[in-house]
Symmetry: C2
Subunit: 217 residues, 2 copies
């Protein structure tokens, strides 16, 4: 494998999309797929598919295409999703509950194994997903016991930084942040933000400027 | 304003972030901000802030900085969020309900004015957000009556393309797609995807490859 630090973020996002389409292709009984077909399914151009995969090795056979199952396995390895990951969710409001029950996470090996809140009316209750809602004070202990590696923040913005700090103390070094707050973490920690309004701003920007659709991850 | 089609997508995403921090600065009583401070708050470098804003004009005063309130107004104009937008949400499960009630959308002028489902047990009920859940068959009529411009898909993947086609027939040309399905739309339509698992894949990729944190939108 070549050096991974120079690989564009967009390449990694597209690998996720390729993987998803490969799953569907396998489900439909395909054993081989050309870069042209995979590209068409993912709404990118074939050269992009070849370039993205080329960062990580030689996976296709010229004139034949990619083995659907092998390429899935390779991408899973690259994305490090060839194993399960344990998640903790903090902030069990509407959004937190929805994510706790988000089928797609479980299917893809992202296991929400713990849920936390600060609201005494919620603590101790069993969420509809069947997971007990715990006091945030228990985070460090539970994180250790359940080997939690990814923390999900679904609190209001004002609480987000405090939760990020707690994650760090609990040795949870990867954070998925759904709050609109920007959080600051030390260099050893990873944060990805999902902010619906930022994405909506992208739509309104394009609507406002009459920009036609381009590929978007 | 210069030609907007060449402007990187990441610039638009950062404009959303700048806007958010400017709001907080105004709330805290600041009237001016330097590009250095704004950059620091947004976790980007100052040259990036100046470059991003430079695509759209000259907003700062050398040696003084940006007027916090004026720059907010300019960014709102650029992002076309200087007015409200009406949204329809299709698929009122856990996630759809959470989005219907997502305070942050309303605050930022994204009004969820209609909710649709295909489940007869849901149709006719009032969602906790106070919006009546309607039969998807009513989409075209309601879209016209309520001037809906953005459609939000929170259905399972298998239903997503059908909903996108319905949006198109209802002249809703901008779609925010929360389903893991890739949807195909004609060139006149816009789609932005929010897929939690794609973002989690980015985290696991970095965890798996020991990549330290870089700025991520």
């Amino acid at each position: 494998m070549k050096k991974t630090t120079k690989i564009p973020k967009a390449t990694i996002t597209r690998l996720s999309l390729y993987y998803r389409q490969l799953e569907l292709l396998e489900f439909d009984g395909y054993r081989l797929v050309s870069s042209e077909k995979l590209a068409w399914l993912c709404q990118v151009n074939p050269a992009q598919v070849r370039k993205d995969l080329g960062y990580f090795g030689e996976f296709g056979i010229r004139g034949v295409g990619y083995d659907v199952r092998d390429l899935q396995a390779e991408i899973k390895k690259i994305l490090a999703v060839n194993r399960d990951w344990n998640l903790a969710i903090v902030g069990i409001g509407k959004l937190g509950s929805a994510i706790l029950q988000h089928q797609n996470l479980y299917i893809r090996g992202f296991k929400c194994v713990a849920a936390f809140d600060i609201d005494p009316r919620k603590i101790g209750k069993i969420s509809p997903a069947g997971i007990k809602i715990r006091d945030i004070e228990e985070l460090e202990e539970i994180a250790r016991d359940l080997n939690i590696e990814i923390g999900v923040i679904t609190t209001p913005a004002s609480a987000a930084q405090g939760i990020a700090d707690r994650f760090r103390r609990a040795h949870i070094n990867a954070i998925l942040n759904f709050s609109p707050a920007r959080i600051t973490v030390p260099e050893c920690c990873l944060v990805e933000n999902i902010d619906f309004t930022v994405t909506l701003d992208m739509l309104t920007y394009k609507l406002g400027h009459d920009i036609v659709q381009q590929y978007s991850a």
